[in-house]
Every structure is written in structure tokens, then in C-alpha cells.
């Protein structure tokens, strides 16, 4: 019987290999090794290391280990090119990016095949997903370059961007980083991952072919040391990193005090929530598109299935059947669903984690995989939240399944993670789906879908998944800077608080005690000490000397006030207008207080009046600084919602003790955040006077908490606190560095600035920039159609 008759019996698919001859020829031409791409040309290969095809372990190329000197040369070339590149009209940069997009399309299959050989991902994915998205990203950002001046008035590029990207989507991550950087007028030094450097080098050739000016895009290959040399280079103005949370933390610490812009896109352990009224088959396919996409090596993969108990058994059954039909094998075969794990090191890591889980007693269901650097699709059931498999990012095709009882239960389980990158919610009930999308702490939420990407929407995480967005207007903003004001005379450290009794105090009718303000209540400091607050002629009062326990209490109170973020902008505006009204009624009292610190009558009057106006301005913004509906794919609504960051620590500058506090607290609370304020250490009494105004203005307890005392010590406690989501520090340079260092722990967003730099009385003291800092964008994807 001939072969066709044989096949008719089994109806197997047979081999369907993608032709890789062109790519193999290209690799052969580069047999001597690849150099770096610096200043428009390739350097001679040096200190090369092998790049392998994970599907068969064969060496496919040799690339150079970037040295400090290479990085130096690349940064120098980028610096030299930057001024001219930024000075080009937007239209000229747009044409360059458009050309890149066109050339990527013209070399689409070449890039797809090369990506698959280098990374191990199935050709279907590189061909149908990665490379089309790369082209789409360059097109989209060609558009931003064109309209940049109109859409982002006053914004400037950072300068030289140092970018380090991972191996899971090598060329796509390059596009996500390079396209917005170039559109904004930055130049780039990029290091691709050491496992997967080849498409970046191919893109360098394509950039050369497309006529990108030399020095605008520089590619330096190498390992982590090369990456560290780039991110740490003093000539780099902005650092963008995608990769592990662990390395993100190292970079955060490395660039402390440098003033470099930073965006981090880190790990995830994203929930995949299936409600009882979901289309279960659709959800099963969603799991395939989530965790069995790119071998599960996806930072936003839905790696924790949470399924309603009512449908858990049926869902598990359907999922297991679907898992059995997945084909694991040769990535170049067109019928392959799951390709090779990127490197044996990663395979060992996945295997090790799953074995640890097995030892914990979970139940493991697996498909099949050939020998070699492959791992079968894996479903883990009977897994408790404490299991290593439920908490660690595995970065492999391994998904856990946990039943839940109620929507509340689902949200609690979903948020029971240090990460906050993405979430997938499956329900045919729009009320339920949007409610849960709002409650899940994640930068991207897919309703009845998973892993959908488009250049027009922002992508990025909450919490330890990093900060900053890529894609959309919010992603563009991450590559633009609004130059920070500089202090003529930097702020000096305040004199240490003196907690011994003051020599004299001004007489008052009845003695008044300033207290801390925590959870809507006046509180005595845990320390039991007070310190003298001085005017020009000695002490004018006593302020409580707060300590770390007071900060702890204030943060807890702030978390308890989470309902504030759920209120309407209108409601928040009402409270804030009322606050301004009550402050105005007591303006004279506040002027007197400021005068007691040594301010002139005019200055005191101006500060109070400015504070009242500022409160009005942010009250006005409460219901106006809203999100957008992004234009992405057809039959999708992509909502970009501005959400409060959460609990923000605010460390106020020394000068302008009333206005400084108002300028920081108001944008934060107007957007629904709750704050813990450390007021001017020197003159905290203007702040403690304020809590009486808060109390008369219906401000809910816990929304603004005030802890007076030694600024740097309190700032450090806030910075180290794992339950503080962001920290704004306006003080000394040394204090700023300390805050940035300590904030690396939970990767909270920081905003540090010299306390004396900004003229709080001018327009510098308020604006949309403050509101942007006070919000994070959650992109919610809602496909529709019946």
C-alpha cells in the first residue's frame, strides 16, 4: 500500500516544515560571528559566545560579549546622534519609522524564521503574532512622531535611552522599546537577551537598509554584565527594562540618585478567572492562548486559573482534553502548538519548580513532549495558594487551577500575589466582568479573551510587575520628559528635631496641643515626645515627634479608607471644594501661623491664597482627568482607565509648609489615592492646623494622614514599607537617594526631587503631571459581538 493509503488510515498531519534556507544562508554568511551595531556599522566580532537553536541544541551563530568599551562607544554614538535626531521635524522621524515598518514587513518571513530558530517559539506564532505586531508597533509610532509636537506640547525626549530586553519576544520587545524611544527623539543603546540576540542584529541590518541615521539605534550584545554597563552608564538618561522582577530590583538600586528615567516591565503571576456563566470552551481556548502560548514564557500569562466551583469539574475535564490535543515539537513545523523552551537552563528551572510542587502533594496532569529542550503542557490541580507553584512565576507551560466560591472570593485570590501585570476574566455577564476587572490589581485586564496586544493600548503592570506603560498614549509619555526644575541652591537637611522642653513659648489663651492625624483621629505620637518648632525668635510651638510605628498606623488607616478611590469624581470634588471653603474661612488664622514661622504678611497671604486656589484646581480635576477608549482592534472596546495608585507617601519640602503639603496631597487625593504626609519638618504646625479643616470638610478618615517628625527617618520607613504603593519625596539629594534605594524592596514608584527646586507658588506647583503621577492606567479589553 502506498504512502497516501497509509496516511488515510491514520489521518496524521505529517511534517509541514517551514523553509529556512534563506535564514540558514544568512547565518552562514555571518559564520565568523556578529559584532555590535554601533554608529551605523557593525564592529569586528570579539569575545564571542555561542547562540544555539534550543530545538536541537546546535550552535547557529556566535555573537560578541559587549565590554564596557563597547557600551562606552555605543552611548557616545547615541549621544552624538541625539541632538540632530531630536531636532528633526516630527515628520522626518515619522518617515524613518514608517520606513522601518515597511522594511520589517518586507522581511517578515525572514524575521519570523530567524526568531523561531533562535528562540524556539512555533513558526505560527512568530509568523502570525510576533512579527505583525512588530510592524504594527513601528507604524503606530511613526504616527506619534508625526503628531508629537501637537499632542505632547512642552515635552522633550529624555536623550539617550538604555534598553535591556528579554528573550521571550526578542524582536517584539525591541519594537516596543525602540519605536516609542525614536518617535520621541531619543536615541537608543539596546541589549538583546544573550539567548536570543539574532533578530535584533537582523533588525540593525534592516535599519541600515532603511536608511536610519547612524548612531540613532545601537545594538550591543552580551550577558547581564553588558546590560548592567548600559543601565549604569552615566551617559544614559532613561532606562527601560523588561525582564525578571529580581533584575528589575537590581537596576532600581543601581541607578539610585542618577536622575535617570526608569520604566520596568517585570514578572507576573496573572489570574485567569472563569465564572460559572462563562463560555467554558472559550475559556479553555483562552488558557491555550495564555499559558500554552510561547511555551508559557510570557510575563502576562494567565498562570493561575481560578474557576467557579459550580463549573470546576466540567472546565477541568474540557481543559484536560484540549491539553491532550496540543502538539509539542519542532518549532519550524507549521502544525506545532508548543515549541522548544528557550534554553536548557530554563527547562531545568521549570522542571525543578514542578517537582517541588509535586513534593508538596499537588496533582499534576501533563500532555506529551519530545525529548530535548521541550516541556509538556501541564495543568496542576489541588494546589493551595501557599504552594510554590501558585506563587512563583514559573515561566513555562504550567498552569494551576483553584476553585473559588463567590466573586469576592475570586477577587481576593486574584489579588493574592505580589505582582499585578495582567488578568483575564471570563463571564457573559457584563456587570460581573467589569466589576471584577475594576477590582483586580493589574495593568491589563482581558475580558473573555487573553494575551491580546496592540500598539494602540498601553501595556504594563502594577505593584512588583513594574511601572510605566508600553503602547498607546501612556506608553509614548514614558519616553518623553518634562524637564524637572533645578534648584539654584539645593535644599539643606533640616536641623535635627530637639525634643527637650523649649525655653519659652508664646502665650496663648488656652494651651493647644498639635497631634498626629491618623485615620481621621488626632493621635499622640507613639514616642511620647514632642519637638520645638521655631520661628525667627525662638520656639513658637511644639509638634509631635512621630516614629515608625506612627507611620505603620497611618499606612493601615490609609488602606482602610479604600472606599475613597471608589467614590465618584464628583463626590471627591465636593469634599475638596468644601475643604477650600473652610480653609478660606480660616485664612487669617493660617496667615498668622505662617507669619509666626517668620514669613512676611504678604508672603503668608499669598501662600494661603495660592493653597485655596490649588485646592479648587484639583477639585475641578477630580471628575475631569479621565481615561480614554483606545483605538485598537475591530470589535473591541479598549478602555484606558485612570486608577489611583493606592496609598502614597508624601514627604514635603521644608519651605512653604502649607502650600507644599497642599500641592502634593491634593492631586493624590483628587484622583482617589490615600496619603500619608510627612509635612515640613521645620514648620509642621501649618499641617497640624489643617486637620481641623479636614474634619469640618467631610474628608473621610484615613484619606489624608499626617505624621510629623524627623523627615528622613519617616521617609525611610515609608520607602521600605511593602504596603505603600508610591512615594513622592521633596527634600535633599541624599534623602532622595535613600528613598530610591529603600523603595526597591516592593518596587514602589518614586518621585524624588530637590525640595527647593520647584516654585510652588507658580504654575510649576500644579498641573497634569501631578495627576499623571497620581494615577496608573489600567487597560481593559472588551471584545464584543453576538
Amino acid at each position: 500500500m502506498n504512502k497516501i493509503n497509509e496516511i488515510l488510515k491514520t489521518m496524521e498531519y505529517g511534517p509541514a516544515p517551514e523553509d529556512s534556507a534563506v535564514v540558514r544562508d544568512w547565518l552562514k554568511r555571518h559564520e565568523a560571528g556578529f559584532g555590535h551595531f554601533i554608529d551605523g556599522q557593525f564592529t569586528q566580532p570579539s569575545q564571542t559566545f555561542a547562540v544555539t537553536n534550543p530545538a536541537n541544541g546546535q550552535t547557529i551563530a556566535k555573537v560578541s560579549q559587549g565590554s564596557d568599551a563597547d557600551v562606552e562607544a555605543a552611548v557616545k554614538a547615541a549621544r552624538a546622534a541625539q541632538g540632530k535626531w531630536a531636532a528633526l521635524p516630527g515628520h522626518a522621524r515619522a518617515k524613518h519609522l514608517y520606513a522601518l515598518a515597511r522594511h520589517v514587513q518586507q522581511h517578515a518571513r525572514f524575521l519570523a524564521v530567524l526568531e523561531t530558530i533562535d528562540n524556539g517559539k512555533p513558526i505560527r506564532e512568530s509568523r502570525d503574532i510576533d512579527i505583525p505586531l512588530v510592524a504594527r508597533h513601528f507604524y503606530h509610532h511613526a504616527g506619534w512622531a508625526e503628531i508629537l509636537a501637537d499632542e505632547f506640547p512642552g515635552a522633550a525626549p529624555h536623550g539617550v535611552c538604555g534598553q535591556v530586553i528579554p528573550w521571550n519576544f526578542p524582536l517584539l520587545m525591541l519594537a516596543w522599546k525602540v519605536a516609542p524611544a525614536l518617535a520621541a527623539g531619543n536615541t537608543v543603546v539596546l541589549k538583546p537577551a544573550e539567548y536570543t540576540p539574532l533578530t535584533a542584529l537582523a533588525l540593525a541590518e534592516i535599519a541600515r537598509e532603511a536608511g536610519l541615521p547612524k548612531g540613532v539605534l545601537n545594538i550591543v550584545t552580551g550577558d547581564g554584565a553588558t546590560g548592567a554597563a548600559i543601565t549604569g552608564h552615566p551617559g544614559v538618561d532613561k532606562v527601560a527594562f523588561t525582564g525578571s522582577t529580581e533584575v528589575g530590583r537590581i537596576i532600581r538600586r543601581q541607578i539610585v540618585g542618577s536622575g535617570k528615567g526608569l520604566t520596568l516591565e517585570l514578572g507576573g503571576k496573572s489570574p485567569f478567572i472563569v465564572f460559572a456563566d462563562a463560555d467554558l470552551d472559550a475559556a479553555v481556548e483562552g488558557v491555550v492562548d495564555s499559558i500554552w502560548f510561547n511555551q508559557g514564557q510570557v510575563c502576562c500569562a494567565g498562570s493561575r486559573i481560578l474557576v467557579a466551583e459550580a463549573v470546576s469539574a466540567r472546565f477541568t475535564d474540557l481543559l484536560k482534553r484540549r491539553m491532550a490535543s496540543l502538539r509539542v515539537g519542532d518549532p519550524l513545523d507549521k502544525s506545532t502548538d508548543i515549541g522548544a523552551i528557550v534554553h536548557p537552563v530554563q527547562l531545568a528551572r521549570i522542571t525543578d519548580l514542578v517537582e517541588k510542587g509535586r513534593a508538596e502533594g499537588v496533582t499534576i496532569h501533563q500532555g506529551t513532549a519530545p525529548a530535548g529542550c521541550f516541556y509538556p503542557p501541564t495543568l496542576v490541580t489541588e494546589v493551595e495558594p501557599a504552594s510554590i507553584l501558585a506563587s512563583e512565576e514559573i515561566f513555562g507551560p504550567v498552569v494551576t487551577l483553584t476553585p473559588f466560591r463567590t466573586p469576592e472570593d475570586a477577587v481576593a485570590l486574584a489579588n493574592n500575589t505580589r505582582y499585578g501585570l495582567a488578568a483575564s476574566v471570563w463571564s457573559e455577564n457584563i456587570n460581573l466582568a467589569l466589576d471584577v476587572a475594576g477590582k483586580v490589581r493589574a495593568g491589563v485586564v482581558w475580558i473573555n479573551s487573553a494575551n491580546i496586544f496592540d500598539a494602540g493600548a498601553g501595556f504594563g503592570g502594577y505593584r512588583e510587575s513594574g511601572f510605566g506603560r508600553e503602547g498607546g498614549r501612556e506608553g509614548m509619555a514614558a519616553y518623553l520628559s518634562h524637564p524637572a526644575p533645578r534648584a539654584k541652591k539645593p535644599e539643606e537637611a533640616p536641623v535635627a528635631p530637639d525634643a527637650s522642653p523649649a525655653e519659652t513659648l508664646p502665650a496663648s489663651v488656652i494651651d493647644r496641643t498639635a497631634k498626629l492625624y491618623i485615620g481621621g483621629k488626632q493621635a499622640r505620637p507613639d514616642s511620647g515626645y514632642s519637638y520645638s518648632v521655631n520661628g525667627p525668635k525662638g520656639a513658637v510651638g511644639l509638634a509631635p515627634l512621630g516614629n515608625r510605628k506612627d507611620i505603620r498606623n497611618a499606612v493601615e488607616a490609609a488602606h482602610a479608607a479604600k472606599g475613597w478611590g471608589g467614590q465618584t469624581g464628583h463626590n471627591r470634588a465636593q469634599v475638596l471644594y468644601y475643604l477650600a471653603e473652610n480653609l478660606a474661612a480660616r485664612a487669617v488664622e493660617f496667615e498668622e501661623r505662617l507669619k509666626s514661622f517668620g514669613q512676611t504678611a504678604t508672603a503668608a497671604k499669598t501662600e494661603v491664597e495660592t493653597a485655596i486656589r490649588r485646592i479648587f484646581w484639583y477639585a475641578a480635576q477630580s471628575d475631569k482627568f479621565d481615561g480614554a477608549v483606545h483605538s485598537t482592534k475591530s470589535a473591541h472596546v479598549t478602555l484606558a482607565m485612570n486608577e489611583p495608585v493606592g496609598v502614597i507617601g508624601l514627604v514635603c519640602p521644608t519651605a512653604l509648609p502649607l502650600l507644599g503639603l497642599v500641592s502634593l496631597a491634593l492631586p493624590a487625593v483628587a484622583m482617589g489615592n490615600r496619603v500619608v504626609v510627612v509635612p515640613s519638618q521645620t514648620h509642621p504646625l501649618a499641617a497640624t492646623d489643617l486637620y481641623q479643616v479636614f474634619e469640618t470638610s467631610d474628608l473621610p478618615g484615613g484619606v489624608i494622614n499626617i505624621v510629623t517628625g524627623e523627615r528622613e527617618a519617616l521617609a525611610k520607613t515609608l520607602a521600605e514599607h511593602d504596603d505603600v504603593d508610591a512615594l513622592w519625596y521633596f527634600g535633599t539629594a541624599a534623602g532622595g537617594r535613600a528613598v530610591e534605594t529603600a523603595s526597591a524592596g516592593n518596587l514602589k514608584q518614586t518621585w524624588t526631587e530637590d525640595g527647593a527646586a520647584r516654585n510652588w507658588l507658580s504654575a510649576e506647583g500644579q498641573g497634569r503631571q501631578f495627576l499623571t503621577r497620581a494615577t496608573q492606567v489600567k487597560n481593559i479589553w472588551v471584545p464584543y459581538g453576538e
Binding site: 497516501i4 505529517g14 462563562a278 453576538e786
Partner: protein, 335 residues
Amino acid sequence: MTADSAAGGASSPGLSPLANDHRNPGMPLDVAMFEGHAVNRSAAERRAASLGARRSVKKDYQAAWLINAIRCIDLTTLAGDDTADRVRRLCAKARQPLASHIVEGLGIAELRLTTGAVCVYPTMVGHAAKALQGSGIPVASVATGFPAGLMPLNLRLEEIRYAVAEGADEIDIVITREHVLTGNWSALYDEVAAMREACGPAHLKAILATGDLQTLRNVYAASMVSMQAGADFIKTSTGKEGVNATLPVSLVMVRALRDYLDATGHRIGFKPAGGMKSAKDALNWQFLMNEEMGRDWLEPHLFRLGASSMLGDIERQLEHHVTGRYSSASHLALA
């Protein structure tokens, strides 16, 4: 007429048994099996779109998959200008769907390849049965006031009995769309059950006219009611609706028959019909069946492609496989 003889054309050694093990006896109407069953259209569309991209067959494998598609084709003519000669020509093509030089080139002479069935109007059944005598190819007849079905029930049942008496082995009935659109499930159930009874030994394929039903939830519900009422096959379309067979609709129907199988143990066949013209379509629908249901649903007793011009495209592709040259329809026999 036995279940065996109704099951299809080619009967060569080596291929899976062609007969369905036993016919779907149906079950009492159970609305809980479909009411509130969620079907998410955009998800179905995504899955349907990725099916063709996730699977590929090349060279001999492609040839085999195309040959298998021929085994499953209900070669169809349902036109107002059908004549006895037209039907005879169609039957000749069903008996010999590939030119002999292609059969030889493929080395499949011993397969005695035919299409799965020939599908005609009731008045053409006699001509078809005569033309197909001895071939083992079943005759399928549309009935029940095809394509709209808006005739009194007694006449529709009579039409079924007429077609069976003329020699039809399979009856492709149309459901009353109104019953679906108004949610009158018991009326739909009773109607299909009565039709099944009228079919006697002939197998019943229930045409849902999914283009008229519009929503995928309706498609799922109508599929389930038809199966509960005893349909042997569920079929997408008459070919006369504005939208005929699509992959997303097919996906939903296939999942319905899988759910019915899970619940009852009875295996139901699936027949997409209308709008499928290319060899690529033939592959995509087979990928759908194989991925969602497995190997058994690549056999004509559980899968049919209702098509007319598709066969011509398949034949051209297979000629190319044999000769290495791109083919011209004018060199191959018309259906």
C-alpha cells in the same frame, strides 16, 4: 435500508468502519442542556481563525487529506433547473470524482474512491438512485419544504415519505426557524421527532439554517433540540441563506454534538453546507473536526461536506500533486 448502507461510499480495506455503530435514538426534550449555555462569539471567531493557522498538511499528507475530503462530500445539486440528465452527470462524477490519470498518479485505485453521497431534490431522487445503483453511494434528498420549510407539517412529512420511497437513504430536513427565534423548543422538538419517525430507516440530517438563526446561542440551542429529537446529523445551512457554512458556526455546532455525546453517549454527525468552495476550505473543516472531535469525525458516517464546486478545486489540487503542474478546470470533467 440498513444503517450500514446509509453510511457512505468508499468501502476499501484499511479504512475505518464506515457505519455508525447505532443511530441516535434521541431523548426527551431537556432544555437544561442548552438554556443559558453561553456562547461567546468573538472567542468562537478567534478559535475558528486560528484553526487553519495552527495546522498544515503538505505533500502526500495534503493529498491524503484532500482525498479524505472527497470521501466526505455530499455532492450536491439543488437548483431550479435540475433535470434528470443533470443529476446523472452529477452521479457520474460522484462515482468517479477524480480523473483516472490522477487516481493512478496517486496510487489509490484500490480505494474505489467515491463521494460520500449525492444530494438532490425529492423529485430527482429516483434519477439519482438509478444512476448510482451498485455504487454503494447513498442518495440524500432534501425535504420538508426545502429551503424555507414553511409548509404544513403533514405535507412536509409526506414529502419525507415520498423521498424515502423514491430511494433516498438520507433526508436533509429544514427546521422551522420561527420555533428557534420564538424559543418554542417543544414545537421544534416535536417537529424534528415527527420527521425522524417519517424517515424510517433513512438517516435524518437537521438543517438549522444558521444564517437565519443569527446568534450562536440560537445555533447551540437548535443543535441540541434537534439531537434530542433524534437527528443523526446536524447541518449548518441550506445553501440558500444569506450566510451559509462558516467556521465559527461549525465550531459551535460541533461543540454541541460533543456535549450531547458526553451527556448521552450517542455520536452525531456534522455537515457544513453552502459557501465552501476551495480545497483549503475542505482542509480547514477537517482540521476543525479532527481537533475538536478526533479521528472518527473524519469519516463519512460522522462528517459530510455539503458542496458542489469544492470537488473541482480539490481535483485540480490533486492533479497538481500528481503532475507538478498547475491545473486547469477545463481539462477535468465537470460535475
